[in-house]
Amino acid sequence: MGSTGETLRNLLTLAWLLPLIGFLVEIYALCWTHRLSKAPAYLAVGCIAAGFVCSFTALMTWGVQTDWVVFQSTHHDEHHEGDHHGEQHHADEHDAETAHVAEPAKTDEHHKHAEKAVASAPADALAATHADHAAEHGDGHSEEHAAKPTVFAGTFYNLGSFGPLKISLDWYIDSLTLVMFTMVTFIATCIHIFAMGYMQDELTEDYVDHEVHLANHEHFHRPGRFYRFFSFLSLFCFSMLGLVLAGNIFQVFIFWELVGVCSYLLIGFYVERKSASTAANKAFIMNRVGDFGFLIGLMIIWTSLGTFQFFDSVDAEGHTSQVGLFHLIRGTTGEMQLSADGQQVLLQNEVGELLTAGENLRSIPYWLLVTAGLGIFAGCIGKSAQFPLQTWLPDAMEGPTPVSALVHSATMVAAGVYLAGRFYPVFTPEVLLVIAYIGCITLFLAATIAVVATDIKKVLAYSTISQLGYMMLGIGVGGWGAGLFHLVTHAFFKSLLFLCSGSVIAGCHHEQDMRKMGGLWKKMPITAATMLVGVIAIAGLAIPGSQAVLGETFAFSGFHSKDAIVATALAYTKLNAVHGLLFLAPLVTAGITAFYMFRLWFMTFAGAPQDEHVYDHAHENPAVMTGPLLVLSLLAATCAIGGESGPLYKLLALSEAVPAGASTAPSSPVTIVLPTHGQVHAVHATAGKFALLAAGLGTLVAYLLYCRKALNPAEIGRQFSGVYGFLVDKWRFDELYDFLFVKPAHSVGRWCQGFDKVVLDGVLHGASSLVMLVSTWDRWFDERMIDGLVNLVGQVTGQAGRSLRVVQTGHLRQYVMWIAVGVVVLFAALFTALPK
């Protein structure tokens, strides 16, 4: 199985590094090619497509290796007709599985590879889940699935050791990693292909940027940046894949920042536009605010737990040298062990025993773990544009539309949710509650803003924020699988929606205002149709009663994932009645979502053309752009097929490190009970009906308002101008932040400037004047006294020299006389000096 680990590692590493190679070649290759060459695009597409092939192969390899254990362990069978079949199947499987148990145990003996002893934490947790599950249902057979490792991890390279502390480049592969890899590479491939068409106008030596107005009323001219766009895209993919593959939280942070840099580069792609550069800065700075929390979390983990690694590292002898984070906190059962007073979280080792340091048990203060979790989550808030750091994402629409698609689906914002999911075991119930509420606030807030937005991309941007809120909410209420399920489905339909909007924008010659569109479905039927698929998917519409006919509800992907989240939320609020809002808000928002998405579609494609000029020039785009739309729409419709019994959800759920309901912490300050899977299933049908009802209502209202024109939306806007203005101003968050942070920062800056000018410069000027004064005086002293003295010495000696010259008369007679005089004088002097 080590070989499996190696195979997976090699495949994913290849998928990860290919975009980097692409980036390097593209960014440096201008000397081989020219600005008009499409080669960079082909290279980028080739790299990412090859990455997709690798990722998909890895997924398949993993599946074959684990005997598709994921599809045998049916958690939710009991709700379907196949219930008994499932159980029977399960039982049949029993013998086969036990046969497998011995084999890995044997091979383990021979195995010295790092990835071998691999934190089978999640696997164990899975076992625990089964045990839990089994106990719940009075089911006898439970342990067998633990035998097959589904998680592989290891170390690429040791960056540095600081005593017992190590920083390394690790890899960690479980089903989540594989799904993320496949999803990211696939969507990125589609977006790359789409961008080849969309960025066509950059293939020029003289690009005229109509958005930039120069002082002389001309537009800004610059060389095209086709190659640069694709090199940044490649770097973006590389960073995201690195983040997903990372085996420790520090490595995650490295790629986290790389993702941030790439988004900065791409959002600010039209750097000459002030709005673009400001948006890039805003995105970058907002993310830094979140990363501040991330860093605090990192430091706490580093100092208190002594490792960044998710998994247990194993030394050459096969012993665990360092217990990974997940085992430290959750042990093998997925339960935190608290000290008697509940103030300490006791650390556990890879077999679930409590760790000791000398006499005492090793532990971390509970509040510190909460702080670490909140810190890491702060990073997620920034990256995933959650309340209160959500304002950067709409502004990020300044980037080219393919970038928006990538940022909003597969890469940037997905990273935040991914990390929240990946780091789930370390979050305490309190942290989860915070996550839930943050998600709840965000999803509602963003949806309301989307209702009044008129820019087609802005609507999508707010819908993204809202949907990310759903994901966070799902994770927060204990629906780990539901949250990540939604992440993946959302990635598909949101990338589809964005590409469709890009197609519309490109087709309408960069017109983004929906009020000027309308009736476009005649002009661009493919775009309209594919976008309708996306809209239905995100709205969560389904055909009621289809379950009875088809065995399951017929719906596009968004319905299933949102359904899962709403169901979890309902189960949660049933257990914790105080937090009823956590169910109501997503339910209401489901309706709002349907409303604004259909509003978008109706305003754009249906009805009568609003602007003849735009309409007349609108056209369908070439196949290079519509192709990806078709492919994505297919996946947006079907990727979640089967809902929570479908392959996608099961794949993801296999990686759930902590069993649902395990995080109950009665002795902690807040009493929270997380729902178990069973409890969720119990309310699933109810929640689904509610959600469908809400979505249907929203759709109906949108149809009435924007298609049938039963009421004039503008009239309603005027009637509720207060609320309307408030929403148009995006809840005035920008103003609030402007007032709270920007203005004070400016005034502090001005004050500092004043201080600098008045006090510091004053001191400096004073000092320099003083120095001038001293040096003036010094110069005077130097010139008069020192030079005077030297000159005096010089004059005196010169004078002495000249006077000595007088003695040298040149008269021989005198010279000879001097001999006599000299002798006499010397003799006299000697006789005077000699001792008497």
């Binding site: 010169g798 020299g801 040298q808 021989l812 001999i819 002798v823 003799f827 001792p835």
Partner: protein, 544 residues
Amino acid sequence: MFSTLLNQILSDSTGQPFGSLQLFGPELTLSAGIVLMLLARLCGIDRRLPTHWIALWMTFIAFSLGVFQFVEFSRSDLGTVEYFSGLMVFDRFSALFRLGLLLFLIFTITLTVISGIPDRDDAPDFYSLLMGASVGMLLMGGANHLLMLFLGVEMSSVPSYAMVGFLKGRKASSEAALKFVVYGAGAAGVMLYGISLIAGLLGTAEFPQIAIQLQTLFAGESAALSNPAIRLLMLGILMLLVGFAFKLSVVPFHFWTPDVFQGASAEVGGFLSVASKSAAFVLLVRTVLAFVTPASSADLGQIYLTLGLGIGVIAAITATFGNLAAYSQTNMKRLLAYSTIAHSGYMLMAIAALIVLRAGLEPGSTGYDDRCARAVEGLLYYLAVYFFMNLGAFAITALIRNETFSEEIEDYAGLGFQAPILAIGMGMCLFSLVGLPPLGGFVGKLFIFAAVYDSGFVHPLMWGILAIGGLNTVFSLFYYIRVMKTMYLQERPATARALRVPAWSYSGAFVLILTLPLLLPLGTAVQLVSGVAKRAAMSLFAGL
């Protein structure tokens, strides 16, 4: 009669492995060279074979003999060898001096060949005089008898007089020669009188005997001034020293120097300033060591101490006078003449230090011998440096004169860019004369000042002299720098004659060979020369 004398001399074996004539080889070779040159002119060979080749070859043979003797003697482990029945002495000290002088002679002859100062007709006369004076100086270096002392001084002086006046038909030259002769004659007279007084008083003229005679003379008697014998002795020593003072151009017996150096050609000036001064200093060291011995009585020691301090004071005055008087000079040769006076002052400080150290010893003690040896070592090192820097300065003056026909400093304007090799060489020599590191002059001065500092422990007045010596270094900076300033900071007038002295000409190579040793080894690899000087100096002190 003659043959018996000859046999006697030939068979004079001094009881040592080295015979008298053997030891006298270099001097004999030089003398043979003189005879050869004169014969060559008689036979008209000098028409075909330029005389300077004969001079150069004979000097080179003499030098080779000197090297051979030096090496052989160094191996033989002998301390001192007296020869010619005690008239002359041979030790490492004189062997080293002989080597240095003969090397210097080679350099001087080469210089005259390059600068072409004696024309073809006069060459035999000039080189005869040059080599004759050199023989005299060699005698000075090995003198072991007051008579030899006088003989050596005169033998080196008399040809010098003629060489000074060698530029025939030039009034200044003839005048200088006349002044030199008369002044030299006067000084010689005084010195001879002094010698006769000493010899008469002590009943001996041999150096090794002098100390013993003094011992017996003042045994049991007060050696104070009240003793007429002391007065007589002092008078004699003083007059003897006047003779030295003339040779060394020490104030107040320096008057001849500026006039003579200005009048004589630069080549002769260089020869006189280096060779005759070195010889005089070597002889002075010998004389001092003969008179001032630790075996002398305490009273005598006191008197010598006073004498040493007096010489120190004279040295300080000389250095100061030379430097100050050089300030207002406009002629390069005259400036160098005063610089020579100043440097005599510095070197005389080493002699003063030697006397003070030696006189301050307890009778019979050898405690200060190593420090005395260090004073002599310093003097030798200084002489070695002086060899190069002073000859270099004079040689470059001569080379410039050959190009510009002027020895006035103001005519040196802009030379730094027209003839860089000459200007750089001159700069090296002048900075070395100032005593700036990393040039040899600095190291030499350091040695001498160290010796003076040592002697300060015997009598603190020496520290005052040391301070004046240091101060003089500063004084000297001004006028040396002035020359450099003229060469580098002033424009060469458009009317002035252009110079072309490339570095790869004979002149350039000669300047390089002459000035580079100032930097290496004399300036930086000090041990190389100081080790030899130290061994030579130590051979003078039996205690070591």
